[in-house]
């Protein structure tokens, strides 16, 4: 039974005698287990959650409105800041949408590198999820270990783009820069050791009776409810729905990679934990395939009016200088139309809906982010359970408030 999220608890009229035994508790917005500034109004009967109402919007910065005032290429850095734990997936989704409008062909090397980076970004996101989730449950050690591995990913990003988090590395038409010479070796070195590290996390958590008892059977979400509420990503797969856009509607050359899509039918927090751990191992396999089959060639499309020229060419060739000047000062016109591009990001399905009216600025950019929909399922997952389980469930759905509020 799905609960339609009704009126907020504080404002709801109290029925005669109905809430005599109930207490209303405010969780957040400044609470260490809320993963940002999320406020939950929880109505409890003793320790049992009767109702739960999420109140969001504390981080709303109007990014979608800002996009309408920028040139197409200026939107890329804004997309980083929406989901700051999975920045390259956001870049990728936006760029794919605009490239679909432009009907732009992306060279194979750029596609391969994009897949590699999207998977590294997914690992980054999953590592943070695992660390913070375990920390919420009380296993602090894992947090220190996962952040050690995340640090190496951030160093790789830094070597690539000069930025640790807000990389803006994937651009319309390809990539921002040629990757540094040691890039592929560093990635190889990193993923060579990662499976052992995942075993290490698994050793710390999978056999841990406290961790297991806190997660097993907690936060159950049935497959039908998950689909009805718009839940995507690992949470949907942990509820038994076999859906992954990387395999079902491949983008950016994912059809050339072999990987498994893990699912579970348990639908509880433990299933989400297991599914994400397997996903991390699958990501390692995808990165290995991308490294082994890395094609030669250019890393950006041959479209001088859209893609910024190389620095060297810009300083030696008149035409390149003119193109550079034009792109930076007046942008480039994009044919009128509307496209929706969905990708499978770390948290679930990300979608960008871009509407163009034929000018150099997007007429409308709408971002569909998975956590926004997942939050609607929170009441269904927590109702009738203990209050302490709310913390476990919020950790297991892996939300980022930046992408909810935008």
């Amino acid at each position: 039974m799905i609960d339609t999220i009704g009126t907020p608890i504080f404002q709801a009229p109290v029925a005669e005698g109905a809430h005599d035994q109930h207490m209303i508790l405010n969780l957040g917005p400044q609470h260490p287990s809320m993963h940002g500034v999320l406020r939950l109004e929880v109505e409890i009967d003793g320790e049992i959650v009767v109702r739960l109402y999420p109140e969001i919007g504390y981080l709303h910065t109007g990014i979608e409105k800002t996009c309408e005032a920028k040139f197409y290429h200026q939107v890329v850095p804004l997309t980083d800041r929406v989901n700051y734990l999975d920045p390259l997936s956001n870049n990728l989704c936006y760029c794919l949408a605009v490239e679909k409008l432009l009907d732009l062909e992306i060279p194979q090397k750029a596609q391969w590198l994009r897949v590699l980076l999207a998977e590294l970004s997914r690992l980054n996101s999953h590592l943070i999820w695992l660390g913070t989730h375990a920390m919420d449950i009380g296993a602090l050690t894992v947090f220190l270990y996962t952040f050690r591995e995340r640090e190496e990913i951030l160093r790789i990003f830094e070597g690539l783009s000069g930025q640790r988090m807000m990389t803006s590395y994937i651009r319309i038409g390809g990539l921002a820069l040629e990757p540094p010479l040691d890039f592929l070796d560093r990635v190889q070195g990193f993923i060579k050791t990662l499976p052992e590290k995942i075993d290490e996390y698994s050793n710390l958590l999978t056999g841990n009776p406290i961790f297991k008892n806190r997660l097993k059977g907690v936060g159950y979400l049935s497959a039908a409810d998950a689909v009805a509420l718009g839940v995507t990503g690992p949470i949907l797969r942990a509820s038994g729905v076999d859906s992954d856009l990387r395999r079902d509607m491949p983008y950016s050359g994912y059809e050339n990679f072999q990987f498994q899509v893990p699912t579970s039918t348990d639908g509880d927090c433990w299933a989400r934990y297991e599914v994400r751990l397997i996903e991390m191992r699958e990501s390692v396999k995808i990165i290995q395939q991308a490294l082994d089959g890395m094609p030669e060639g250019p890393f950006k499309a041959d479209a001088p009016k859209i893609v910024l020229p190389d620095r060297e060419k810009m300083k030696t060739q008149m035409e390149a200088l003119i193109h550079h000047f034009k792109i930076v000062t007046e942008g480039f016109a994009v044919p009128a139309g509307e496209v929706y591009q969905g990708i499978e990001a770390g948290h679930g399905q990300t979608g960008y809906y871009v509407v163009s009216d034929g000018t150099a600025k997007p007429y409308r950019v709408h971002m569909r982010y998975p956590s926004f929909a997942t939050l609607q399922a929170l009441e269904t997952m927590c109702k009738g359970r203990m209050l302490a389980d709310v913390v476990a469930v919020v950790g297991s759905i892996d939300i980022v408030l930046g992408e909810i509020d935008r």
Binding site: I2, G6, K65, S243, D248, M249, E338, G351, A373, Q376
Partner: protein, 166 residues
């Protein structure tokens, strides 16, 4: 999927994609509710009459488009009709996405909510209400979601300045 082809207009889509499950389902249900259609860049857009959107959503849901992804609006100010609602609906079985579109007038825009059909539309319709001021009839809790409750105006409308009112 006929990726490279483009069909603009209802007649062209009906001729070009007669076997498409969503098109078939809509035609079998109520052909006059389909106002316009477009197949562009591999994406099918079906424009539905304003009064019929909830029934159309139920129809495509029954036809296999089981997963509601997204609803958002576009403000075409100052042209008329002013607002465009775009519903994105995915089918896990067909591995394909369709877009339902509804056009609304600028004066007191309102449309039936599809939350009774997909509970997941709840937050999305609240967001559209908050940022565009479009009312959804039959929504269980149509309140502002991102902006403060006492906010004046609807920020994503085109006549609302980017830097806000100062």
């Amino acid at each position: 999927m006929a990726e490279a082809k483009t069909f603009i207009g209802k007649a062209a889509v009906l001729e070009g994609l007669p076997e498409h499950p969503a098109v078939k389902a809509i035609l079998a249900w109520k052909p006059e509710a389909l106002m316009d259609a477009k197949f562009d860049r591999g994406e099918l857009t079906l424009t539905i009459a304003r009064e019929e959107i909830r029934a159309a959503a139920a129809t495509v849901q029954a036809a296999g488009y089981n997963f509601f992804e997204d609803v958002t609006a576009v403000d075409w100010f100052p042209s008329s009709p002013r607002f465009q609602l775009s519903y994105h609906i995915l089918s896990h079985a067909f591995k394909e996405r369709i877009r339902l579109r509804v056009m609304l007038d600028g004066e007191a825009p309102a449309v039936d909510s599809i939350t009774p059909i997909w509970p997941g539309a709840n937050f999305y319709e609240r967001e559209v209400f908050d940022l565009f001021g479009i009312l959804f009839d039959g929504h269980p809790n149509l309140r502002r979601i991102l902006m403060p409750d006492d906010w004046q105006g609807h920020p994503l409308r085109k006549d609302y300045p980017v830097e806000g009112y100062r």
